[in-house]
């Protein structure tokens, strides 16, 4: 009995290692989130109210921006996937990429500041379209410019999880499929794609989530002509003069959070069958 009591009283060192994590999470995740929720459900005097939600959802402009954001993010994600998949296949080919140098070449752009990259891209494509067609892309087709910027900035995030997944691919299964009469095209869509589903799902998440919440790209690539959710949030918190600016901004942030939450649930159900796998270690 005595031993048991002593054990209970003993200082649990391993457990104590969690404390900084909990403090961090409480300070920087739970607490801010609580503030957002508080603002979203109160009026300017601090009384409970659903009026902010009504205001947000009855404004046509907000619906447009939310819809536009989802569409832009989805298109960017699909384009990223289409470009990243063949690149990842090449990179995971040991004959082609012997010492993994090529992987670093694809990841190198991430070392340059995000804003500088985006501004640089803007200057480049505007220069190109002006020389060829006598207009500036960001001026005439801001949506296309935003998608371009997003694809450019988030492509490495799509390549890495796909590349990781492809390294783990069972080459025997590919040979088995060819052996059973599948031509290279069939081998690809009947065996290689199913084997890389976990990689595809996490590549989608790694691009969809940041494009949903991004602010700089839309801001720079459309020269404030087009808004996505990120710009909307920034407007309410930073530029608006309304008394309700924090309250409305909070509601919009929560809407964005919900969309991301839904996409996470989708990922869980899609990737459920496959073994849970580590995502690319980017951070």
């Amino acid at each position: 009995m005595e031993a048991v009591v002593r054990k209970q009283r003993r200082f649990n060192f391993r457990g104590s290692l969690c404390i900084p994590y909990f403090v961090f999470m409480a300070l920087f995740v739970v607490f801010p989130l609580a503030i957002i929720v508080y603002y979203a459900f109160t009026d300017e005097l601090g009384f409970f109210s659903l009026a902010n939600w009504a205001t947000v959802f009855t404004t046509r402009k907000n619906w447009e921006v939310i819809g536009q954001t989802v569409i832009i993010s989805a298109i960017s994600t699909i384009i990223c996937l289409l470009i990243a998949y063949p690149i990842a296949m090449l990179l995971s080919n040991k004959k082609f990429n012997k010492n993994k140098v090529l992987v670093y070449i694809f990841l190198l752009p991430m070392w340059i500041n995000f804003v500088i990259r985006t501004i640089g891209l803007k200057a480049l494509i505007n220069g190109l379209t002006f020389a060829l067609f006598k207009f500036e892309l960001t001026d005439k087709y801001p949506l296309v410019a935003i998608v371009l910027g997003m694809v450019y900035d988030y492509l490495p995030f799509a390549i890495l999880p796909l590349y990781n997944q492809m390294l783990k691919m069972d080459k025997n299964q590919i040979e088995a499929a060819a052996d059973l009469g599948a031509n290279p095209f069939r081998v690809f869509y009947k065996v290689i794609i199913p084997m890389t589903v976990p990689g595809i799902v996490s590549a989608c998440m790694m691009t969809f989530m940041p494009t949903m919440s991004s602010y700089v790209i839309a801001n720079k690539m459309s020269e404030n002509k087009t808004s996505i959710i990120g710009n909307l949030v920034a407007y309410w918190f930073a530029d608006s003069t309304s008394d309700l600016r924090f309250n409305i901004g909070s509601v919009i942030s929560l809407v964005m959070l919900m969309i991301i939450g839904i996409s996470l649930v989708l990922e869980k159900t899609l990737g459920n069958k496959e073994e849970t796998q580590k995502k690319g270690g980017i951070w």
Partner: protein
């Protein structure tokens, strides 16, 4: 062998990976319905050969004929050959039914549309080609005969164009019901009925292997390739599957090509065994032939237990080994010149034990192991050890005599008794080979030449002969080489890669980092992979000039 029945024929097939020859000049014909096993130690090229038949690797040179047609460069999906992989390679994202149905769903089956005929375009093309050939052969002056031949062909083509004569052949896919029936039948063959809906991950290793077999045989391939399919199973399971595979082979009548490093597996299952080593075929034959009449010491050592000795041929068809003269098998009479060094193989069960003095040679029983059916004895004869299996029980330490029926003494040509290297002459008129320099007198290579007072090699007239960097052949007899574990003993270091016990000594092959091999004989026991220094007695090194007449 029946030429008609040959299903697959490998002719002069070689495979080189990054400069290393993995399969060297492989020639083999396999008849329909045969169970052929490629047997050899790992790295002997057996799996590479199988992969070339499957189409995963392309031969560097040589051809592979399937039913007389060259398939050497055909991709795997176009070959009527299926493979059972060592690690099963089942599709993890599909259930068992879909795994087995994978090939069936892709297959296109030709069928004739009754009553519908089409123009035989192939025949027309063939005729046109024939006409062109005649014209090319004739040149400008076409003889009347040739013109007549051309006209005949043209007329035939006209006829073919106007009268559709060829049966229309269309392709269809298997219907769902057909696939279901075939999958069920395949599952029955491998004894896993009712497993259709289950997931691959719920199966044991043995069950997965059966599914892999079912997935291959369901396509009714002309040849089934099996790449060490039982390697990952435990011993009991392996024995069971061996018998089942053999039964399956009988039932299906498909040609099986089986790869294994397990000699017992090969002996149990095969109709024909192909023993391979270092990318070359050592012997092809029925299991009993391979066991009873091994071609060389490697085969004898690899298949079953063997006593292998270096013997010398003597007069009157006798062979000397274990320091005694033995009557050799009459079929070997005249095959070897007297005094030729040969390898002699006697299987442990072929020694006849008797009372001391009654046989050819006497020895002392030094160890005794009970093996269930028989006892295995090690008998010391002089310095040599003889392994003998017998049902009689003998005590350790007693003296016995040994005898062997002449037919049970296998005499084989010694592959070679010297090592050969490419060397060259250095600045100091020494010889360098295997990355080491040796002080060997090079004067015998250049008749009439001598070294003058300035230490320069000159011919009879005193003119300098430029021999520096000249390439020469170096021959080093086995006896000239000894090995030591002292790394400072010589400049040549390597690892022991092979070790064959030859009765009173070991034949050892040492391979250096530069892939030079040194074969030598030693009475001492070493271990495989031991790192050793190779000491060469330079007085026994024999040099000859490249391209010189022999």
């Amino acid at each position: 062998m029946d030429k008609e029945n040959i299903i697959i024929s490998l002719q002069g097939v070689c495979k080189v990976f990054d400069g290393t020859t993995v399969v060297d000049n492989f020639n083999l014909d396999i008849t329909k319905g045969e169970f052929v096993t490629f047997l050899g130690p790992s790295g002997c090229g057996k799996t590479t050969t199988l992969r070339m038949i499957a189409g995963f690797e392309l031969p560097t040179s040589g051809v592979i004929l399937l039913n007389g047609q060259d398939i050497s460069l055909l991709p795997p999906y176009k070959r009527p050959i299926n493979t059972v992989f060592q690690r099963y390679a089942l599709f993890a994202h599909l259930n068992i039914y879909n795994n087995i149905a994978f090939g069936l769903k892709l297959k296109k089956i030709p069928y004739e549309v009754p009553g519908v005929f089409v123009v035989d375009k192939e025949k027309i093309k063939e005729n046109l080609l024939a006409i062109r050939e005649i014209k090319i052969a004739a040149g400008k002056n076409i003889s009347e005969e040739q013109q007549a031949e051309i006209n005949k062909l043209l007329e035939e083509n006209e006829n073919l164009k106007n009268n559709p004569s060829k049966q229309l052949v269309k392709y269809r896919r298997f219907s769902k019901a057909e696939i279901k029936e075939k999958v069920e039948r395949a599952l029955k063959v491998v004894d896993l009925e009712g497993f259709e809906k289950r997931d691959i991950s719920t199966l044991s290793g043995g069950q997965q292997q059966r599914i892999a077999i079912a997935r291959a045989i369901v396509n009714e391939p002309e040849i089934l390739l099996l790449d060490e399919p039982l390697g990952a199973l435990d011993l009991k399971m392996r024995k069971e599957m061996q018998l089942e595979l053999k039964a399956m082979h009988k039932k299906l009548g498909i040609t099986f090509i089986y790869v294994t490093h397990d000699q017992e597996e090969a002996l149990t299952m095969s109709d024909t065994i192909v023993v391979m080593n270092d990318g070359e075929i050592q012997q092809v034959g029925k299991p009993k032939e391979i066991y009873d009449e091994p071609n060389n010491a490697f085969v004898a050592d690899f298949i079953g237990e063997s006593n292998i000795y270096t013997g010398t041929m003597a007069k009157d068809n006798k062979v000397r080994f274990l320091n005694k003269y033995w009557d050799a098998d009459p079929v070997d009479f005249g095959k070897f010149p007297v005094n030729e060094k040969v390898d002699v193989v006697v299987r442990p069960e072929d020694f006849i034990l008797g009372k001391a003095g009654s046989g050819v040679v006497d020895g002392v029983v030094s160890s005794k192991i009970f093996k269930g059916m028989h006892y295995e004895y090690i008998i010391n004869v002089g310095k040599s050890e003889v392994i003998v299996q017998s049902t009689a029980e003998l005590d350790e330490g007693i003296k016995v005599s040994l005898d062997v029926e002449p037919v049970n003494i296998q005499i084989m040509k010694k592959p070679f008794v010297s090592n050969f290297y490419d060397g060259y002459i250095t600045k100091n008129y020494n010889v360098e080979f295997a990355n080491a320099e040796f002080e060997v007198d090079i004067l015998p290579l250049f008749p009439g030449a001598k070294i003058d007072e300035n230490d320069v090699l000159v011919d009879e007239k005193g003119a300098e002969i430029d021999v520096v960097d000249m390439e020469i052949n170096v021959e080093v007899p086995f006896e000239a080489i000894t090995i030591s574990d002292d790394p400072d003993a010589s400049d040549i270091h390597g690892n022991i890669i092979s070790l064959i016990y030859l009765g009173d000594h070991y034949e050892i092959i040492v391979r250096t980092e530069d892939e030079e091999d040194f074969v030598l004989n030693t009475p001492d026991l070493w271990n495989e992979n031991d790192e050793v220094s190779v000491i060469i007695d330079k007085s026994q090194i024999h040099l000859s000039r490249k391209g010189a007449k022999k």
